[in-house]
């Protein structure tokens, strides 16, 4: 089972599409809406996103702490998830 983490914004259309894609493909994943976090949690989340994606943009999907997919990219997600 791959470990999938989605960093998203609750207000963003591409983030919503990314969630729908993961749901439709029965992918198990954790997600966090960074815009809803406050204080330390928010800082930590931003730092993690920037580590993988220096622009700090959303959605950012991290697969198995190895692959990063920036933006809504179904083909890249399929490849990284093996689906």
């Amino acid at each position: 089972m791959k470990k999938v983490m989605l960093y998203a914004l609750s207000t963003c259309g591409w983030c919503k599409k990314t969630r729908a894609f993961l749901d439709d493909n029965d992918v198990e994943y954790d997600y966090v809406y960074v815009d809803l976090l406050k204080g330390y949690e928010r800082e930590q989340a931003i730092e993690t996103v920037r580590k993988w994606n220096p622009k700090g943009s959303f959605p950012t999907v991290i697969v198995d702490e190895q692959h990063v997919i920036v933006g809504y990219k179904p083909e890249q997600l399929e490849e990284a998830l093996g689906i």
């Binding site: 914004l9 207000t11 963003c12 815009d35 622009k55 933006g71």
Partner: protein, 164 residues
């Protein structure tokens, strides 16, 4: 289901976009979600922070991402859509092409210097931007490139000439 407020905002932005030579994404459900995002951010921050970017919450730090953001026109010109794909090119609006995700432009080189208008420095304005003139109606604007459509008479970008 989208709220009546989101629907009203959609109608307003669509009307305003069309009056100024812009187009909203033809995927209405997608746009209504973005309207909810804008309304959420208005409530949260007091201004229309881009729904697809993480706002700071301090207006001065978010000025460039208040919708329509500073990056809309360069992204429309290069990718046919703004970062959120709220605003799209005429081609995408007509359904002849699909909107694709746009790479984040924010945080790159300053907009005025990035564009390729270094050929001559004569006649540049103090802002460093060239002035473009719509040959159809005479509309003038100072920006890196002319708009895709003249906001006044809706003439296409290629009807603009360099004025200063």
């Amino acid at each position: 289901m989208s709220s009546p407020q989101a629907k009203a905002l959609y109608e307003r932005l669509k009307r305003e976009a069309e009056a100024a030579g812009y187009y909203l994404n033809p995927d209405v459900d997608f746009v209504l979600d973005l309207m909810e995002g804008l309304l959420t951010n208005e409530e949260r921050y007091g201004y229309w922070a881009c729904p697809c970017r993480l706002a700071d919450g301090e207006r001065e730090k978010d000025l460039d991402i208040i919708c329509p953001c500073d990056y809309r026109d360069p992204d429309l010109g290069e990718y046919g859509a703004c970062y959120c794909a709220l605003y799209v090119s005429e081609e995408i609006a007509r359904g002849e092409k699909q909107a694709e995700p746009v790479p984040e432009r924010r945080g790159g080189a300053p907009l005025a210097e990035k564009e390729d208008h270094e050929e001559e420095l004569v006649g540049f304005t103090r802002s460093g931007l060239p002035v473009w003139r719509c040959k159809v109606c005479g509309y003038l604007c100072a920006r890196p490139k002319p708009p895709l459509k003249c906001p006044i008479c809706k003439a296409d970008r290629d009807r603009f000439e360099r004025f200063a």
